[in-house]
Symmetry: C2
């Protein structure tokens, strides 16, 4: 006989930022919440992005009853098209989130196989044994939801990303009353957003951005160019409102931003009057002080419009003096240097650059410490699992929970792969399954791993030197001088003499008929180059036998 | 007849953070202020550090009358041993700065040739035509100075790094009275620290760190391990004071920290009672709650003690549960990710980690906006040149100067290499000399440049694939199958089949007797691999002719 056991398995978002994914399991039925991607860290060389590890799900594909998406940010929807290659299940999302997912799937492939189902905040959906109550949350994207997941084993509240913004741009604050209702009913476990758990106080309302833009629009003499994330629909609305108030026209640049804005307009999440919105061609013909351009590239991505403007390689227009550039976003952790480099380059090109730190042109979409404590006091869960964040965020969130009275033994700071079980109203640690980083690089998924990263790191450190030997197939003696070439090692002007010396030393080493040719050549070359330069390029040896 | 012309040439620290170096020139006599290094940015692959470009100075070596060092931080002294290979001149520094320089030169070589001269804050030194008045400034290292540089062309105030800390750890605040005296005399130009020009308000006093440590020492149940910079002498004192107050012994770990502490103790800049300071062996034998260890590695450097503790590869001791780890420093810009990764690993190993953001265990050593404005109002310079910072800092500092009444036409936001001339009390832009990044990599100085960086970046992106061809020297036809090898491209398990295909395709391409063999092979391989993987590894082609 089956027990009433609920199992919660995090496949992403715990101990890291991004690629959020949680699996709920009850009586061999599964439900997935979010399937996001993560941006590579600085030492994940050449990787485009990282997705969750679907290995555990592959053998259970037919038991997955549904996929719920809490909101339309990349770290929650970015790996859905990869997941759809492995499993087929209905996807539940609110209208805007569905719209963003459709735009993405249309570009990535997979739109025709996707079974997308629209849910409104406030609705309840039955997904296998899970009764899922969608409740609205304020976040830095409209139409975000949290979930009340009622199971025979108990009620779980899963916040998704949220903040307690009392004056959000769309005037739709987090559904506090619904949280209160869950609380009345009795919440077995709360899973809550830890991203800002290290930040004290209360995250400011999105409204403060309006005031910052008001000043920008008042002060700007020439064009205003605003960069932000393509999914930050509420920011588009704020810029549009400022443009309208100051008699400027507005245009979007960049495919993803144009597509998202169009979709959001159609669905009614973005309201820009026809006499404000112009297309990019018209915008570039208007007088400088009558236009605001909104584009992608707030992270300084080299191929984005803002990245190209900073480099002076944008095709359709350039930065000019008196331009005011606003980077209306926060640097993604690890990305600060790229963002500041972009800012410095824009300054050099003559723009006045406004960015977070100089003015509140961006606020976080995640709850700070006082909000997290309020949520805990409101929901009064028996058990608490901090989600979304690095270990340092999860630990700090756990401390906050202890401060408001959750018994420490009822708080589980866990990492991806650690399954938690709930039975008879008691939480316990179940098995931990192995989870790896799945790197996406070009068209390959999972075909680069730690060893390839390590090789790339090694190549990046001191470059590479390749030695080729043509050998007599019987005597294993050289029948031509070794061919040598290097890249990324040292300036061409310096390398010539060293390569000549390598040819001589390798020939001498071969004269001694080494037992292991590869090892002997590598040792000879490495010793010489290190002595000469204190560097160790990666040495590749190949042979041909004739 | 020579005019009374003063020329100021920045060779570092303008438009970048680090490698501070300024050259003052009057009537063909030169004086250098500071000669620091800069840490590489994330895309400067394999580079150890970057030093100023000495090219301009080499041909003027015999006219350099002296080198003045403002304080003992790496970004002000770190390239002195490289400079001493090019020029010989007396080096003027305060006792602690001299001590730190001696420790460094002793390790790097160059100590025996260095003509070091001790100067006390308050003293005036004649260096060629420059009358240099050293005045004390508070900074995150003791014994720092700013300079009043009196020349026949006028008086220049050069702050070095400073803050207006009213309660510094050594009770020696910035010499405001001296600044007032300069002001009375009339200051032609002010060069002032822009590092924190984007930060509003007033930088907190070093004293706030005492309160944070008080809480750490009260709460800690086991060992306390404090990581900081090896040159942060005042922090050593603060930790020692807390150790004494809480009945703990203290020990230093890491060569540079041990050496610096010893020297600072000898010179009287660090006062740790004999019954508090123990050596590292003794410290490791003491009960956990009776000891505090202080070590390097606050930036998460992999080879530092804290880096090894996080990885679990430290030789002499490991992190254990109940350890409290304090990272008493700020992440160097661009280094945030490495620092946070270290923090997460330390948490995983069971330590409680306290870092900036959680508690004020570090404060900046640079002045914030209100301090910068105070300095400008105090010194009342005719001309103003913001120094030390990226363009965004310099621009913001310029705005602050304009706010307090410096005419905008009297403010020069310049970059390295831009010479400013002062003649008859008037500032003007003189020529701009070319300045490059001089990369230090292993034992090589300046033998890697942008093209080598670019090659390394390319190698890091998708790895490398080497193809070798053995050709008949007359027919240029293949006389053996092409030899192919790859690294950092794709997992070994996936690559085999692709390399076999490359051999076939290259052989076919060679059958067509291409006019340019290298180009034909690269094109064939690149097209195949990109089609197969959407990646473009760096392709190396070598040939042997027989």
């Amino acid at each position: 006989m089956k027990k009433k056991t609920l199992r919660i398995l995090p496949l992403g978002g715990l101990g890291e930022v991004g690629r959020n994914m949680m699996v709920y399991e009850y009586n061999d039925s599964y439900m997935i919440v979010d399937t996001g991607l993560m941006f590579p860290e600085n030492d994940m060389l050449g990787v485009d992005y990282i997705i969750p590890d679907f290995e555990y799900l592959k053998s259970r594909a037919d038991k997955i009853k549904g996929i719920v998406i809490t909101h339309g940010h990349e770290d929650h929807i970015g790996a859905v098209h990869h997941l759809l290659k492995e499993i087929q299940a209905p996807i539940y999302a609110t209208p805007l989130t569905r719209g963003l997912l459709e735009v993405k799937l249309a570009r990535r492939g997979g739109i025709k196989d996707a079974d997308l189902r629209t849910v409104q905040a406030g609705e309840t959906v039955h997904i296998g044994p899970f009764q899922v109550e969608f409740f609205h949350v304020a976040h830095s994207i409209p139409d975000a939801v949290g979930l009340g997941i009622q199971t025979p084993a108990g009620l779980v509240v899963h916040t998704g990303d949220f903040k307690f913004d009392q004056t959000p741009v769309d005037n739709w604050p987090t559904d506090v009353a619904k949280l209160g209702e869950f609380s009345q009913r009795g919440v077995m476990a709360l899973l809550s957003d830890s991203t800002n758990a290290v930040d004290s106080g209360w995250t400011p309302s999105e409204r403060v951005v309006d005031q910052a833009f008001e000043k920008v629009f008042n002060d700007a003499e020439g064009r205003i160019i605003v960069a932000s994330f393509a999914s930050l629909i509420s920011r588009m609305q704020q810029v549009a409102n400022a443009a309208q108030a100051h008699g400027r026209k507005m245009a979007f640049f960049g495919t993803s931003m144009v597509d998202n804005a169009k979709m959001a307009q159609e669905l009614g999440y973005l309201n820009i009057p026809d006499d404000v919105l112009v297309n990019s061609d018209e915008a570039l013909k208007l007088p400088d002080n009558e236009v605001v351009l909104m584009c992608t590239g707030s992270q300084g991505e080299p191929r984005s419009i803002m990245g190209r403007l900073a480099m002076g390689t944008n095709r359709r227009f350039d930065i000019k003096p008196k331009d005011t550039v606003v980077l209306s976003s926060q640097a993604i952790p690890g990305n600060e240097e790229a963002v500041y480099r972009t800012i410095n380059k824009l300054f050099k090109r003559g723009a006045n650059v406004i960015y977070e730190g100089l003015a509140p042109v961006h606020v976080s979409g995640h709850p700070a410490q006082e909000e997290l404590k309020l949520l805990l006091n409101l929901v009064r869960p028996k058990y608490f699992i901090p989600i979304h964040g690095e270990i340092r965020h999860l630990r700090q969130h756990a401390k906050l929970a202890a401060q408001v009275g959750v018994p420490t033994e009822n708080i589980a700071v866990i990492e991806n792969g650690q399954i938690m079980e709930f039975e008879n109203g008691e939480m316990q640690f179940a098995e931990r399954i192995p989870i790896s980083y799945v790197f996406v690089d070009g068209s390959g998924v999972g075909d680069v791993g730690p060893e390839v990263m390590h090789e790339r790191e090694d190549l990046a450190q001191d470059g590479v030197l390749a030695v080729h030997l043509v050998l007599n197939k019987y005597s294993q003696r050289l029948i031509a001088p070794p061919a040598v070439i290097s890249r990324g090692f040292i300036l061409d002007s310096e390398v010539g003499e060293m390569l000549e010396e390598v040819v001589i030393l390798v020939s001498q080493a071969m004269d001694e008929k080494p037992a292991n040719i590869h090892r002997a050549v590598i040792k000879t070359v490495r010793t010489y180059l290190y002595g000469k330069t204190r560097r160790s390029p990666h040495i590749l040896v190949t042979t041909s036998e004739i």
